[in-house]
Amino acid sequence: MTWLQDHWSDVFELLGQHVYLAGVPLVLGLLVAVPLGWVAQRLPRLRTPIVVGTGLLYTVPSIALFILMPSILGTGILDPVNVLVSMTIYTVALLTRTASDALEAVPESVRLSADAMGVKPLRRLFTVDLPLAVPVLAAGLRVAAVSNVSIVSVAALIGVPQLGQLFTDGFSRDFMDPLAVGVVGCLVLALVFDLVIVVLARLATPWHQGRTA
């Protein structure tokens, strides 16, 4: 593993890119999916179009999405924004249904109590519904986080640098070290994302202390 010692700074830079390309879409995706899920949950007539529509986005293979993005956004093929937007779309596709289900799972009695106390709908969303939906949302976010880390590495094929570049480098030079470092890096990153979400979900739901999310 002298290769890793020699290329530590390069690997670190690729890791940083990977965190950016896989992590930012998680936040953006959550910010889009929660309002969508809220609308889907409150207006039953819109539920099916929203859930089915976002589900369809999910069937588009990532490499196809990376390549089609430039013709939709008008960006260059090498622009990392293509990957960022694609990953956000996947996160939305995965989380919208989860968000709607999570809000739906809030007990009716709690909702009615809040209403009876005079809590307005928007305020109820932020102070009652969303906090109670955190465990289910977090479970969906964990699946999205782990798969985002793995999908981003495919972007190496279209020349956007991140840990996946170690795969293409190792393959073209018939050299196992960068490949192994890349795979381990991806696995460790997925694990770290997973842990961060678990910890944040715990902090957001202090009443669940001692129970698993």
């Binding site: 069937t59 939709i72 995965l94 798969s147 793995s150 999908i151 696995l187």
Partner: protein, 239 residues
């Protein structure tokens, strides 16, 4: 966008040795083979885990760990390990199939054992009370009741496999991924985008077909209005 249309609508791109039709057939062959092998492994295993409860912990964690595996890296490693020992097209085909099967097993396995686990305990008791043996219980009650989740597991596996079969072209095999990579190499955006659109359409079409299959094979008594069905997330993002 217009580059893509002019590439797709040019008839000469559809026929011959490197035409769309042949690439489509190759793509379906790689994907179908992998799905078949994965189903042969994952369905019996999932039924066993769901029926007996043995090895549940292992199945859950294995599923999670495989989900995090970057498929591109796995493909190259499999090729470098296996490629030297194989001859001809097998040197490229076996590593590809290995990765596709590894991708397809977790969702099918998760769908199968979750499907068996969520079978109503009362239905199980009733079957036992009628004198069914463990084997009859599994095949006549648990398997039919598990079908909705089992087929959704197969659907998400199919999505993943079709998406990832594009990577076969990286090793020099065929499939629709050829257009993506050749287009990239020759800076022919129309070809890349055309290929990408074809993969997306294929994924969508197969998903719709499997959704229709799901309606056909699932007993009417289980389709929603009469039964309570906890939903289990077996989907995962396609690489």
């Amino acid at each position: 966008m217009s580059l893509m249309w002019s590439w797709l609508t040019d008839g000469s791109h559809w026929h011959g040795n490197d035409g769309v039709l042949l690439r489509l057939a190759e793509h379906l062959w790689y994907s179908g083979l992998a799905l078949g092998i994965a189903a042969l492994i994952a369905v019996p295993l999932g039924l066993f885990v769901g029926h007996t409860g043995h090895g549940r912990w292992l199945a859950v964690n294995l599923t999670g760990a495989l989900r995090a595996m970057p498929s591109l890296g796995l493909l190259f490693i499999a090729y470098m390990w296996l490629g030297d020992h194989l001859r001809g097209e097998g040197a490229f085909l076996y590593p590809t199939e290995l990765v596709l099967v590894a991708l397809a097993v977790p969702p099918i396995l998760a769908g199968t054992y979750a499907g068996v686990e969520q079978v109503d305990a009362a239905a199980r008791d009733a079957a036992r009370g009628m004198g069914m043996t463990g084997r009859e219980l599994l095949l006549k009650v648990e398997l039919p009741c598990a079908l909705p989740l089992l087929v959704s597991g197969i659907r998400s596996a199919a999505l993943q496999v079709i998406a990832t079969a594009t990577l076969a072209a990286v090793l020099g095999l065929g499939g629709l991924g050829r257009f993506l990579l050749d287009g990239l190499a020759t800076r022919d955006y129309g070809q890349m985008a055309g290929g990408a659109a074809l993969v997306a359409c294929l994924a969508l079409l197969v998903d719709l077909l499997l959704a229709a299959l799901q309606r056909v094979v699932v007993s009417p008594g289980l389709t929603g209005k009469t039964a309570r069905q906890p939903r289990v997330e077996t989907r995962q993002a396609a690489p």
